[in-house]
Symmetry: D2
Subunit: 417 residues, 4 copies
């Protein structure tokens, strides 16, 4: 570990919470250099929906590399890219009745968000972007400006509201019984409200970093209606909740809405390889050639594994049902546990679930306890009071039980039971 | 190609100039799906300094994947990351007397630049960043704000000067005999100049996209002196010129300066895999843990090939000399050719050379002619009047000759000779 | 009128609604060049609380000019300025237990607001300013950025949120029974809310231009508590409601709060002469000498009339009671009228009252009707649906009746009764 | 003086350099409360071109007030405003072949600048404003953003570049023999320069606060050509140098150019009364009614004295010649004095002249010495090394001699001669 302390920047973070040197990984398991095994309920912050090094993806990846196929191709055409585009259209978009053009921004989530924000401003000629309380969209300046976290925001070093960004209350933010969209609609209808009419609203259907906050289908539906009525674009940030974690490929499917743009990354390559796309309604595709670019748009290895994931998990019918079944199992266990202590609560959707603790930092303590028992699990929320369950979607039922047992024991220890 | 036209965003760019579907690649050669061969003098926009799929990197990459080693690890510790950190320190920093901490931002150049700009502002408490005419630093909003290209800037959709960014004339911008730093120094010395004292100056030692503009060693030296005198940080953007292309690992080495931060990406992984680091003087490493993060900081495959590239090319003595020798060969040929026509000129450093044409868009025409003759080569400059030579550093002398022959023939055709 | 149409900019506005050339004025009466008389229920947009050319102010003004006393003195000391400072302290601040330093910004309301915003940011080191829905604070860029009106905002020509400005719902904005400060407090308590902690909150105790919206004493009290708890400065914009219009010198007096800064202008000189001050808690007076300046800070004629107004109206006890009595009279008449038609409502405080019509632009029609009957009265609100009563505080009871009769007749005509 | 120290904000400035309480003033003379006489070579920072309380203006002012004419009329029509508009057109614009619409912004210079900047952005749809090194345009945020002084800029409390403002080198800034407009033209011609094409360039034909820097007629002419060629608006800030000080009504007249907009204030009322106008080429007058407003646009007393000044000084032929003659006298004396000491130099135009000292703050010492000898004179420049001669244009030759004698003695004392 000395190497990291001596040579890596102080900005390093997860390595402090899980201070071992990992070497191998398989499915829902991690192994450190000393051969110790850890169960992984973090899944690379949502990158590893199909587990580590899934053999269905590993095989075509190895074959591709071995045969000397092109690795890096900028935004030139490649056979791997052609296959990905075609299969993504066939397997994901078409069956869902979705009509999107695909933009390849830089291969990270924040790049996908930046591309969407730029295009929204360019297309509408407006500057303002409305985002929600507790939103998390990325660390580059454009995305950071629509991220809620004060600690991250101050890292920007300058005021972030420059282009005009407005914060709106997320679903549930003002307590039970208050439809937070009433306020948004009031501001829009009032020409003296001070809200510059937004180019776009950006929303995570389930806020991950912000504390596992779930937008209801009804609320998302109304948000779509309001934005449509006022000619405001709707951008869905599906970076962490997308690619199946919600129980559908896109979390917004449940609500029946069709966002104008969608940002996808994390589990898109399926193998942990950097990859991202921004999906655009065809009528919004007003980019001039090269107006937004980036070197690593042509990361063919990621396209190969992404295509393999589409074939293996999404071309068949039953994957969504499997995820939903596991989600029920996890949710059931958590609710049972929470029932024992009225100070605890559970929230989440699909295989992103949060166990909410009454005190700040208690989730961090649970995470620490769990790690000492061989489980990697992270926290969420502004005050680190939510334990975030983010296991691979492919985790076996046995492993789910094993991990949940560890969390319960860890929580017992923290709560002094 | 239909797939791309139908499904990919209009923003796609290089695919329009080189409209074939690439399938395989090896060293300085590309092959399309029909088996046609192309010589590659573009090298993935500077990503492929060691050529496509270099066997010295391919082997450890395949072994790493095969043995099930961890692919994606966020910023947790991994054996691959440990090895990269240690070897980068041993092979690159130590022998050059450079003392930097390594930050892993998101795995693209623009992420590395954003991290540097954020830290510069945070550390100094100042907001302004000075950049140079014709600079190119990236497409996310923070980096775009210090990029000169008007076409790219307008893609941002909002005014980009918000945090305060100032443009300074690059070396040579005001013609022969004018030291452009006189103006910078005058502005700094004058408390009524209107220049908010910058947190940092960001500079490309050789501007690539901006037209292959070379900063002299003397000019860089003076820039370092001025910034030091005024307590302004100096950030070197070595994304395209770094990793050996200049004839040294860092292009700034020639001038003897030590920047406060360095952004590296493109050829860092050596295999075309997304990867980037921001190097920081230890005393500037004031990041709080997690203050800047990003999912794909732990792209272990890229670390494996990066380490292999260090071992294979940089741990030995003679690689720099080899590059310099090839650079002289290329430069010599270009100068001979340019001599025949007083309207042509040559500029560049190492294996980034530009052949400057008298009229706008002539370089684009040469590029098109060359492609029809089996050579991939790109242009640079605001008016596309520079043919940019950016071949792999490993290109054989024979291939260099072959490619230069094609360029000469293509230029003859465009110039009507 | 031709002169105006030909030579003055299209930006001219009130001249379009009241298209006569005014020549003389006295108390609550205006006379045009043809000798026609108009009753004035607009009072120069709140500038003429003591009526036009009040003789108690006119006399010392004439004497001052006649004796050759200094007219313009920048921010040098003058006997007139000394007298104003001393009397303002004695007559206004001391009896109310208020401890403020007096800053003379440029002699307009927007200058007073800009000075307050600059100081708030400088003192706190924070950039964000929170303002309320329907706020109106001025037309220069700093003040415009905290003004709600979309039409005015677009006149700025650039995005106005640059320094970070946040909009909060004003008292009553979300309907009966919703304390809009709950949302503000929620945002402040949540470190991931996206609200950058404000340097200051700026509030009009009664919003004039925004539609005659009254903040309750309880709401203002809670706003003061919240801001104090979080170390946020509170700026009261008393430009239109101040100098007695509310029934007290400062409208905030009723609530018992003490803002950190107060902006005063409009009726401060009492004679229609440009004048403004920014009041600062002594501990906030961190200005360096000359850090904010302006040529017309030393407008001695305005200081002479301002001092005369203090002596004549405020040094005695009964002026506030008189205003309150008249306010009751006006309010009573309006409520009686509104009772006849359930679509009408009345709101306001002191001698700023609004008669609210059900349809957009109806107030404009009433204003037009009233002018044809010899009454100058203006509208407010984003949709011009509020007739705004803003008569001189010195208007006689008879004239009040006369004007109210005209409004009722005009409203009858518009409502078709 | 105690009143000021106790009750007025620390921001007060000139009162510190001239620490007496002024009471009366006449022409070029000031008198304090103890009857001491001071010669005035500061003229209220350029407000009093016709001296204090000029009888030709005082008489109509008194008559206007006495007869009960309207004092405050917002932007409604008044007989005084009609007369001013008509006479300004007849006496100033028409004879000079200038075609401008007149906008009445708030009655201060910074308001006139803000109106111009807003309109320039609105009309062009561009956000960037280019201003010059050492420029001074005002203290409200829009104007402050184009002001060069670092001390004033930091008073803004936030980064000021938000809308995009670019600094260009003023005439002479880069030394003899360098035409600083070469750089501007280079930036404009280069689409990768980083300069966002400006909506407007704002320029003071003579920079007053910035150190009495004179733009040559040739340089202004070329600036006009460049801006015209690129469709950039040119705004002349004539706030301090205008209304005759340069020897013409507008300082730009000498160069033969016609700016697109002109900001006038300070000496416009002629009597020290707050007043300002923004002149607009008719084709730029795209304001919507009320899009920019301000309470004190209808300051009729200022219009009365402004009209009187037009009649008395400008309707006749010989005033400009008189000013030029006095300017030569002053300039001659200063040059003779400077000749005695090679470290001194003189610069300026008309009756704005600067005596430049070799060391920082020496001008401040001279000012202090002069005040002790009965002369009020101020300094300019970023380092207070310029004594700024800004006497009333009506100063008698005898008084000019008297004042110059005092300055020479004071300078002798400071220089140790």
């Amino acid at each position: 570990m000395e190497v990291f302390e001596k040579l890596e920047s102080e900005v390093r973070s997860y390595v402090r919470g899980f201070p071992v040197v990992f070497d191998r990984a398989e499915g829902h398991e991690l192994f450190d250099v000393d051969g110790n095994r850890y169960l992984d309920f973090f899944a690379g912050a949502g990158v590893l929906n199909y587990g580590h090094n899934n053999p269905a993806l590993k095989k075509p990846l190895l074959e591709y590399i071995e045969r000397g196929a092109i690795t890096h191709s900028l935004d030139m055409a490649s056979s791997a890219k052609r296959d990905f585009l075609a299969r993504f259209h066939e397997v994901i978009l078409k069956p869902r009745g979705l009509d999107y053009k695909v933009q390849f921004p830089g291969p990270t989530g924040t790049n996908a968000v930046e591309a969407a924000l730029k295009l929204a401003r360019k297309v509408t000629g407006r500057h303002n972007i409305a985002a929600f309380t507790n939103a998390f969209h990325g660390m580059t300046l454009g995305a950071l400006a629509v991220t809620g976290n004060a600690f991250k925001r101050q890292g920007g070093g300058i005021p972030l509201g420059w282009g005009g960004t407005a914060t709106l209350p997320f679903d549930g933010y003002l307590g039970e019984g208050v439809d937070t969209l009433d306020y948004f609609e009031r501001l829009l209808d009032d020409t003296s409200s001070g809200l510059d009419k937004p180019a776009a609203v950006i929303v995570e259907p389930v806020q991950a970093e912000g504390g596992v906050n779930v937008a209801s289908a009804a609320w998302l539906g109304r948000l779509r209606e309001i934005t449509q009525k006022h000619g405001i674009l709707l951008i869905a940030d599906e970076i962490q909740i997308g690619c199946g974690r919600s129980g559908n490929f896109f979390a917004f499917e449940e609500s029946g809405i069709e966002p104008d743009m969608v940002a996808l990354s994390k589990s898109l390559s399926g193998y942990g390889l950097p990859f991202a796309v921004t999906l655009l309604k065809p009528e919004l595709d007003k980019w001039a050639p090269g107006e937004h670019n980036g070197t690593f748009r042509g990361h063919n290895l990621a396209m190969v594994t992404a295509t393999a994931a589409l074939e293996h998990f999404w071309a068949k019918k039953d994957f969504e049902a499997e995820v939903q079944k596991k989600a029920e199992l996890v949710r059931g266990r958590l609710e049972s546990y929470a029932k024992k202590d009225s100070r605890l609560s559970v929230r989440g959707r699909g295989l992103m679930q949060g166990l909410v603790f009454p005190q700040d930092d208690q989730a961090s303590e649970v995470s620490k306890e769990a790690f000492s028992r061989g489980l990697v699990i992270e926290t969420a929320g502004a005050t680190d009071n939510v334990v975030k369950f983010l296991m691979p979607l492919t985790t076996t039922e046995q492993a789910l039980s094993e991990g949940l047992d560890i969390v319960e024991k860890s929580a017992d220890a923290v709560l002094g039971r």
